[in-house]
């Protein structure tokens, strides 16, 4: 029994390594910058959704306010860079730490709420964050911050001639988020989180301090999402409140994991791999007419997938496995 488990863990790791290598080789074949952009966004949202999944999927605290942490990552990096000349790499880490701290400060009152009330609180807080940044003059208010162009440099994490460095960073971030999840799955925290999600009362009776578990999940989740935000800001080279803290980011972090399979190791990656290209392609081929046909198609596809596979896309694989096992 024990061996099965270890073998499954190893198999996941090997699949991930193979996929990562394949992804790393993709730029050899994909020269088109438009497609490269889609790949970068897909990897970024996979990473974000994987991070969101830690708090909302594993620990069961559904957040629709993660745009706040994304924005904090972006703003911390760019404010430190443009105002104090701090390199984006330090800004990125600082953004992560600040986001994690804010997640815990917010968690202190909000983790006492259960179910829907928690979700509502996360939405409201993210909206308040958005309003604050829209009116904060020092941080550029609604006009935002333009990142000064200093030429290609790894030190300043800025590249004008090629998208490839961004691609590899997004890939690395995606691998990191996946690996953290993989590692946490077989850790004390991972078990505590799933227990808290399934039944907080029973978890508490088994020595799990439910409140602290939620705080831990929130901190890890917010940290990783803020790193993603810092990356996005560098990638766009321009940020304003709406473009890094808008509600759509909260949704785009939740959707891939939900569609792929919430609280699973592969759900977020699988969901992002299907959802993000679908978003971009419907937008570029049938969008732009001003009639919103792309959004109708996009929404319909999401509804269809959720109806057919309520457990997420990963259930396609586990179903096949279950059949094989009964034989």
């Amino acid at each position: 029994m024990d061996k099965n488990f270890a073998a499954r863990r190893r198999r996941d790791l090997i699949i991930a390594a193979v996929l990562a290598v394949m992804a790393a080789l993709a730029p050899l074949f994909v020269k088109d910058v438009y497609v490269q952009n889609i790949l970068i966004l897909t990897l970024m949202y996979a990473a974000l959704s994987q991070s969101w999944n830690i708090l909302s999927g594993y620990c069961g605290q559904i957040s629709l306010g993660h745009a706040l942490y994304f924005g904090i990552g972006a703003y911390t990096t760019e404010l430190l860079f443009t105002k104090f000349g701090v390199l984006p790499w330090f800004g990125m880490i600082s953004g992560g730490v600040i986001a994690a701290l804010i997640a815990m400060v917010l968690g202190y009152p909000f983790f006492r709420l259960r179910g829907h009330y928690f979700v509502i609180a996360t939405i409201v807080i993210a909206e308040i964050g958005l309003l604050l940044f829209q009116n904060w003059d020092w941080a550029g208010a609604a006009l935002g911050i333009t990142i000064p162009v200093r030429g290609d440099s790894w030190l300043k994490f800025q590249f004008l001639r090629s998208k490839l460095p961004y691609f590899y960073f997004a890939l690395a971030l995606c691998c990191l988020a996946w690996f953290v999840t993989w590692w946490l799955e077989d850790s004390k925290w991972g078990f505590w989180w799933r227990a808290v999600k399934d039944n907080p009362d029973a978890a508490e009776s088994l020595g799990v301090v439910v409140f602290n578990s939620k705080m831990g999940a929130a901190a890890v989740s917010a940290f990783l999402v803020a790193i993603g935000g810092a990356f996005y800001a560098q990638y766009l080279a321009y940020i304003d409140p709406e473009s890094v803290m808008g509600f759509q980011f909260s949704l785009l972090m939740a959707l891939p994991a939900v569609l792929g399979g919430i609280g699973t190791l592969w759900g977020a990656v699988l969901g992002a791999a299907i959802l993000i290209p679908m978003t971009e392609l419907t937008r570029s081929y049938i969008g732009g007419s001003g009639r919103g046909v792309d959004l109708i198609v996009y929404g319909t596809l999401i509804v269809l997938i959720s109806l057919a596979l309520p457990q997420g896309l990963v259930s396609l694989f586990s179903r096949a496995k279950a059949k094989g096992a009964t034989r």
Partner: protein
């Protein structure tokens, strides 16, 4: 030697309702004690106070020589109080063994050890064959068993069983009784709330009868069942007189 568990003058009020009034009981090491009483006697409330779900309105609770009155359930678990729930609370999306690992993590910080401990407990409770099944796929009797397994994995000194034998078929109940004996033989003190008198009476060393939130009678099961006060509490005064 001091008692393992003691409640001293415990009161619990919910608004105007008094669920426990001045309850003082003690449970000695190695005993199986039955907490019985008719519906609404305050058994479950007392049980939850001991487990740490809520603090008593008044009075104190002592465990293993320590005042635990203000301690939360998780802390009491770390001290050695394990419990099951009357309405089973399995972690439904997790496998049986994963459910038990959550409990085992209290005393084992290394995952490998927690996992080994979990399999050991599954063997002990007769669930080993179901280890890899999702908890949601278990039949009710197995779920009860899983509750016990999970609590045992925390390596408790005192195991609180909340109606684990209720609602089972006679055969299932007999296996349950055997399991409780096995637990006691492993050196764990048991306090069990039960409804079904004929099952619980041969099993326990001592019975405490609660009625209307108070301790009515306490003693050997054979004496308790003949006590007129107990009979009247369960069946009404008419029967008590004829007995």
């Amino acid at each position: 030697m001091t008692a393992l568990l003691e409640t001293r003058g415990v009161w619990q009020r919910f608004g105007g309702l008094v669920a426990n009034s001045d309850v003082s009981i003690s449970v000695g090491r190695g005993e199986i004690v039955g907490l019985i009483g008719p519906n609404g006697a305050g058994k479950s409330t007392l049980f939850n106070l001991i487990a740490g779900v809520l603090p008593p309105t008044q009075g104190s609770i002592w465990f293993d020589g320590q005042d635990v009155t203000r301690m939360r359930a998780a802390e009491r678990c770390q001290l050695g109080v394990g419990r099951t729930f009357q309405v089973v609370k399995s972690f439904e999306t997790m496998t049986v063994v994963d459910n038990v690992i959550v409990g085992a993590l209290v005393r084992n910080t290394v995952m490998r050890e927690a996992r080994r401990k979990a399999y050991e407990v599954l063997d002990f409770t007769g669930l080993a064959a179901r280890a890899e099944v999702l908890a949601s796929d278990l039949v009710p009797a197995e779920k009860r068993r899983l509750e016990v397994a999970r609590a045992l994995a925390t390596e408790p000194k005192l195991l609180l069983l909340d109606e684990v034998l209720t609602g089972l078929t006679p055969t299932e109940a007999q296996t349950g009784v055997a399991l409780v004996r096995k637990v006691r033989d492993a050196g764990i003190t048991v306090l069990m709330v039960e409804h079904v008198m004929e099952i619980v009476m041969p099993l326990v060393d001592r019975a405490i009868v609660l009625d209307l939130g108070k301790v009515l009678v306490e003693g050997k099961p054979t004496e308790v069942v003949r006590d007129p006060k107990v009979i009247s509490a369960y069946l009404g005064d008419r029967h008590a007189v004829s007995a």
